[in-house]
Symmetry: C2
Subunit: 434 residues, 2 copies
């Protein structure tokens, strides 16, 4: 049987990993896929590196438009990143009837609806396992493994950089800036870490998973996004004493009124498996009404870990490309005609639990005032911790029951206006994940 | 579009769960599958229970042969268990051109090669996600999610009954018999628990995963199988003190000489995520050369958790049944013509680490004799613990580096023959899973 011919757009970390895996495991991959999968063409902005690898065995150029039009390419693998040129090239490849594999979460989070609509129209596959949680086959699990379920929620550690930083802060008592510098030295964080530490990368991935889980269009602009840049080391310590670990979570949850879609730091009970995911690893918990909780764990980044997902997509396309396009696994798990218009909830209307840390005057009556204000805003207290903080001062930590975010914000403003409160209140959300 | 018509063979715990999930989530399932999936016929040994559920909406009978021949059935779901009648019915259903979904691990472990060969010949799908690790989509992960990888090994907690018993023994200091009785009271263990506690159920599942991981035929008869019935509570305590937890693992590993295929209790470092899987939950770690370690966790049994996997298979078949049978996901991950004849290793030739517990005379020279005997058998010691055990006696625990099982067994016999050794040696394997 003729080999499947792959055109690589981009030859950076993931592109070279993809070629290395396809080459090293060529025999096993063809035993699985039923035919060989070969790189037939490469286009990259800086061809020198690729030329050094491919020599004259495979044509290498900087002609990306040529690659997506080449009749000798069956599958285009988009690994150039960004959302402008990548969008144009992917749309053109689809127009030309080519299947596409991409690791580009930003592209799909911003332009996925357009891309998948065109792919459905043209009857081609657009596969993106590598776009979420690197080497963990989480897209396949949600899209195919859990199809029996009404998915209730999912929560994931889906950014390895921030998880590494949080692990370092906790294990070695480091402040955020020091842990970030370490992550940069070790190659876990980029020179400009904003996309990771501000939660944007995690939100891209979460938005895609929410679409797969709930059958809704991709709606990145509606995601609530907070990063880890404002996290204080002492809250990690207090959380640990209370039996929790702070993780940057992407959470999406179905409520009667709509869907929660949010990325932010959260306390998670230490006894949960996901709380014990340390370093640059990723994990996603999915709760379905039939199966209950399942968890998927593995490396969320890295050259060959990401390539593992890219190549799995290539095998999927190879196995299934002859199947009837109208009767195939839908790109976003649900049939394109069956997407739902369930709204994404405003963050004010999200309900969850909260960790609140206050510094107050240490005198009788203060606690009574605080609890009254919380009660006035329909916030009930699950547990409380108090400790001396120098003369006449106390640190108070409240863990609340589930409350409405808008109510919590109003209560915080009211409390901060009280004369016995010394500084602004630290508020971190708390997720029991049960 | 016409609904897919499902014939249920058997209506016990999983059968009723399957119907409950298909009914409750009918709308979401058809949005995913592209058409409705309906139970059109039920055949069970004891129809009364099914009649009570279906009334006159769906024909219920005890005519199983009739169901697998019925032109009104597209997919046969085999949930009757056992390996004789189930084999006949499944083979006949395939002969009749029907797709089959089964949760029957024993059937596939014993007759899978025959069943999949016939299915390939007839161009039908035989799906079995529910046969391994219940609701965890581990079959899909290995068969489709990790296809880029040369899989090196996998290790799983794939029997919830025994994991529950081991958790109870550790957490509450119970002896095996008491923990088993609790498991029986709570419905986690059957009145005759042999299939679970002797490791047979785990070996059925492991054998299937080994075939998917390495592209070898299903070879249940070659599996080495030990259960948990001989585990001593004190070894659980010693393991904990040394930083390990004892789990019943199914392990399959590729070596230069062949493939290890074994089920037995093993010490696992407590810091590994899988060591923290407690109660009746399951988890599988898969190590691939590109991705590294990924882990899959969830409920391994239960009515709707297992039904979640059955229904996911129904959706898969519905999505893909029109595709070209020669160009589909192969049943056992590798193309049927591309299976390998790599041998399964004898247990004597397996290499792993060991926990050895001895009761010896407490006098100088004993330790020197012991370590010399171990060294004579190419067994090197990683760490050692010694403690007084009454007057003139000591308990010694050795943790060894990786050694050949045959050498370890010979060394144990030699040591047990020494006059200063008081009783037989307890030997438990130790898996670093790194």
């Amino acid at each position: 049987m003729n080999p499947m011919k792959v055109g690589l757009l981009g030859f950076g970390v993931v592109g070279s990993g993809t070629y290395a895996v396809l080459t090293r495991n060529a025999e096993e991959i063809s035993r699985r896929a039923g035919r060989q999968i070969v790189v037939s063409k490469v286009a990259t902005r800086t061809p020198a590196k690729a030329v050094a690898v491919f020599g004259d065995k495979v044509p290498v150029s900087n002609d990306m438009a040529g690659l997506v039009a080449d009749p000798e390419v069956d599958i285009v693998v988009e690994l150039i990143g960004g959302t402008t040129l990548a969008r144009e090239l992917v749309l053109t490849a689809i127009e030309n009837g080519k299947h596409v594999v991409t690791a580009n979460k930003a592209l799909l989070a911003l332009h996925g609806n357009e891309i998948f609509a065109l792919a459905s129209k043209k009857g081609v596959m657009v596969a993106f396992e590598a776009a979420v949680a690197g080497g963990i086959p989480i897209i396949k699990a949600i899209r195919e493994g859990l199809t029996a379920n009404r998915i209730q929620w999912l929560a994931g550690i889906i950014n390895g950089t921030t998880n590494f930083i949080l692990s370092q802060m906790r294990e070695h008592g480091l402040p955020y800036e020091t842990a970030l510098a370490q992550a940069q030295q070790l190659g876990y964080a980029e020179a400009d870490p904003a996309g990771d530490v501000k939660g944007i990368d995690a939100a891209h991935k979460l938005t895609l998973m929410a679409s797969l889980a709930f059958g809704i269009p991709i709606q990145f602009s509606k995601a609530h996004i907070e990063g880890i840049t404002d996290l204080d080391q002492q809250d990690i310590v207090y959380a640990e004493r209370l039996g929790y670990r702070i993780k940057l979570l992407g959470i999406t949850r179905r409520r009667d009124q709509g869907i929660e879609l949010r990325v932010h730091p959260a306390l998670v009970p230490t006894k949960r498996l996901i709380a014990n995911v340390e370093g640059a690893m990723n994990a996603v918990v999915v709760n379905g009404d039939a199966v209950g909780d399942t968890l998927y764990y593995g490396p969320g980044a890295g050259s060959e870990a990401t390539a593992s997902a890219v190549v799995a997509d290539l095998v999927d396309v190879t196995r299934l490309h002859t199947s009837d396009p109208g009767n195939r696994v839908p790109h976003l798990a649900f049939q394109p005609s069956a997407l739902s218009d369930t709204p994404i909830l405003n963050m004010e209307d999200v309900r969850t639990c909260y960790y609140l840390r206050l510094s107050v005057e240490d005198r009788s009556g203060v606690l009574a005032d605080l609890t009254r204000i919380l009660a006035d805003h329909q916030i009930s207290i699950n547990s409380m911790m108090q400790e001396q903080d120098g003369e006449n001062r106390a640190i108070i930590i409240f863990l609340t029951h589930e409350s409405r975010e808008g109510d919590v914000n109003t209560a915080i403003k009211t409390i901060e206006a009280m004369p016995f409160v010394h500084s602004s209140i630290t508020r971190i959300r708390l997720e029991h994940l049960d």
